[in-house]
C-alpha cells in the first residue's frame, strides 16, 4: 500500500513535470468541447442531456489520446534501466503496476473533470437529469481507463514508445469501431452472425451507451472491470515472463 502510494506520487509528479499531462488535458478539453458545440450541435439540438452533443465523442477521442498518456509507462523504465531499480526494491510487482495505472488514471480524471463547465451550462440552459449526466461521465471515464489498461499491457511488451502507441491505438480503434452501429450493419451484410457477435462483444459502444443513457447495468461494470483487471494481470505476467 505504502509502496503503491510512493510510486503513484512519483509517476504523477513525472507527468506534470513534462509537457505531456498539460498537452493531453488542454487538447482533450479543446477537442471535446469544440466538437460539442460544432458537430455536436449542442445549442441547435437543445438537448440538455449531453448524450449526443458531448459524451458521444469521447470514445473517439480516447482511442487516439489515451495511449499517448500510457505509452511511456513501462517503455521508459525498460529503456532507461530504472526497471532494474524497481525490480530490486522490496516491493511487490503489483505496487508498481497499480501505482503507474492510478497515476495515468488521475491525469485523465483531471482532464475529464475539467469539462465540468459544460455540465453547468446544460443546467443553466435546460433541466437535465443530473444523475444521467453523472452516469455518462462514469461511462466515459471507464472507457478511458479501459484504453489506458490496454496501453499499459502493450507498453510492457515493448521498449519502443512509438510501437506501443501504434499498437495500442490500433487495438483501441478496433474496439471503438467494431461495435459502432454503422460498422455492425456493414459486417452483418458480409459475415455470418457467429462471426459478427463475438467481434461486437469486444467493442465498447454497447456498454458505454447504456451508461450514457443513465442505466447502471451490473453487466457493464463487470465488462469494464474485468477487461481492466485482465490487462493489469497480463502486464504482471509479461513483466515476469520477460525476465525468466
Amino acid at each position: 500500500m505504502r509502496n503503491t502510494w510512493s510510486i503513484f506520487k512519483r509517476e504523477l509528479g513525472s507527468y506534470f513535470s513534462h509537457p505531456i499531462a498539460y498537452a493531453i488535458i488542454i487538447v482533450f478539453i479543446l477537442i471535446s468541447l469544440g466538437l460539442t458545440f460544432s458537430f455536436g450541435q449542442f445549442m441547435r439540438s437543445g438537448d440538455a442531456s449531453l448524450d449526443g452533443p458531448f459524451f458521444f465523442w469521447h470514445p473517439w477521442i480516447y482511442m487516439l489520446l489515451a495511449p499517448a498518456v500510457g505509452m511511456r509507462m513501462w517503455s521508459d523504465e525498460q529503456r532507461s534501466g530504472t526497471i532494474e531499480l524497481l525490480g530490486t526494491f522490496p516491493l511487490s510487482p503489483w505496487a508498481a503496476i497499480l501505482g503507474k495505472f492510478l497515476a495515468a488514471a488521475t491525469v485523465w480524471l483531471i482532464a475529464v473533470g475539467l469539462t465540468f463547465p459544460v455540465w453547468i451550462t446544460a443546467n443553466i440552459l435546460g433541466d437535465p437529469d443530473n444523475l444521467t449526466i453523472f452516469s455518462g461521465y462514469l461511462g466515459s471515464y471507464l472507457v478511458c481507463l479501459t484504453f489506458l489498461a490496454i496501453t499499459m499491457l502493450v507498453s510492457a511488451f515493448t521498449r519502443d514508445q512509438v510501437v506501443c502507441l501504434i499498437v495500442a491505438v490500433s487495438i483501441c480503434v478496433f474496439m471503438v469501431l467494431c461495435s459502432y452501429d454503422d460498422v455492425i450493419r456493414e459486417l452483418s451484410n458480409v459475415a455470418a452472425d457467429w462471426i459478427v457477435e463475438p467481434i461486437v462483444s469486444i467493442g465498447v459502444w454497447d456498454h458505454f451507451r447504456s451508461l450514457m443513457r443513465g442505466s447502471f447495468r451490473v453487466l457493464d461494470f463487470v465488462w469494464f472491470v474485468s477487461l481492466i483487471s485482465a490487462c493489469l494481470l497480463g502486464t504482471s505476467a509479461i513483466l515476469s515472463a520477460k525476465r525468466a
Binding site: S17, E84, L85, T88, P90, S92, A244
Partner: protein, 248 residues
C-alpha cells in the same frame, strides 16, 4: 551474508551462468572479475532478485531470494551497471523516493538522505536535476541510493566505471571502509582495483568460476606474480575463434 549455490541462469539456449557457487561473509569484499559477457552482471541480477534463477539457490542473510524475495531484497543495496536514474527528478527528490521504497519515513528518511548525500559527496548538486549531472555525479547518485537504508549487503556492478582517477580513488576507499562491517560484492574489469579494495576475488569466464582466492593467492597462482597474467591465462578471449581461422 551471500550464499550462492549451484546457480544456473539460462536465456533460451545460452547458459549465461553455469553452476556457479560462492559465499561472501560479513567483513568480506569479494571482487568479481571476468571478461565481458562472462556472466558477472547476470549473476548480480540474480543475486539481487531482478532475474529469477533457472536453477540453484540464493540466500541473503539466510533468506531465500526465490521464496522470500521481499524480505531478502530489504537486506541488499544494489548499484546496477548502467547506474539508472529518473532523469526528471532532482538528486534529493530521487533519493527521497528511494528512501520511501526502502520503507523509511519522517526524520529517519531525512537523516538517511542527508547521510547518503554526504557519503557520496553530492552536497554541491543535491538540488540539481539529474539530467544535468555529469557521469561521475550520476554514478554517485545511484550509489547513494544503494546506501540509504544502511544495508547489510552491497552489490555493486562496476562501481568505478567511467569515473575519473580521483573519483575512482574515493569510491575504492568507500568500499574498503564499508567492507569492514558489511558484505560487499562488486564486479570490475580493473585489476588494480582488486588489490586496492578486495579481500577476496573470483575470476569468472563463460558462466563458470575459473579462479578463486585472495589477491595474493591469485597472484601466486599466475606464476609471474601478476593478476593480469593469471586473467589472460584462465579466461578465453572472444577473438580466439577468429584468430584460429586466420591462422589456419
Amino acid at each position: 551474508m551471500i550464499e550462492v549455490t549451484n546457480l544456473t541462469k539460462q536465456f533460451g539456449h545460452k547458459k549465461a551462468v553455469n553452476d556457479l557457487s560462492f559465499t561472501v561473509k560479513k567483513g568480506e569484499v569479494l571482487g568479481f572479475l571476468g571478461p565481458n559477457g562472462a556472466g558477472k552482471s547476470t549473476t548480480m541480477r540474480v543475486v539481487t532478485g531482478f532475474l529469477p534463477p533457472t536453477s540453484g539457490e540464493i540466500r541473503i542473510c539466510g533468506l531465500s531470494m526465490v521464496d522470500q524475495p521481499e524480505e531478502a531484497k530489504k537486506k541488499i543495496g544494489y548499484l546496477p551497471e548502467s547506474a539508472p536514474l529518473y532523469d526528471g527528478m532532482s538528486v534529493r527528490g530521487f533519493l527521497r523516493f528511494c528512501a520511501d521504497m526502502r520503507g523509511l519515513s519522517g526524520s529517519a528518511k531525512a537523516e538517511a538522505v542527508d547521510r547518503a548525500i554526504e557519503t557520496c559527496f553530492l552536497q554541491t548538486v543535491h538540488r540539481q536535476a539529474i539530467d544535468t549531472l555529469s557521469k561521475g555525479y550520476r554514478h554517485r547518485t545511484c550509489l547513494a541510493q544503494a546506501l540509504l537504508h544502511d544495508p547489510e549487503v552491497l552489490v555493486l556492478d562496476e562501481p568505478t566505471d567511467g569515473l575519473d582517477p580521483n573519483q575512482k580513488h574515493e569510491v575504492r576507499n568507500l568500499i574498503k571502509r564499508l567492507g569492514k562491517d558489511k558484505v560487499i560484492l562488486f564486479s570490475t574489469h580493473i585489476l588494480e582495483e582488486v588489490e586496492a579494495a578486495c579481500t577476496r576475488a573470483v575470476i569468472v569466464d563463460q558462466g563458470r568460476i575459473v579462479a578463486d582466492g585472495t589477491p595474493d593467492e591469485l597472484k601466486a597462482q599466475s606464476g609471474s606474480d601478476s593478476l593480469y597474467d593469471l586473467f589472460r591465462k584462465v579466461t578465453t578471449t572472444d577473438t580466439a575463434p577468429a584468430k584460429a581461422s586466420a591462422d589456419a
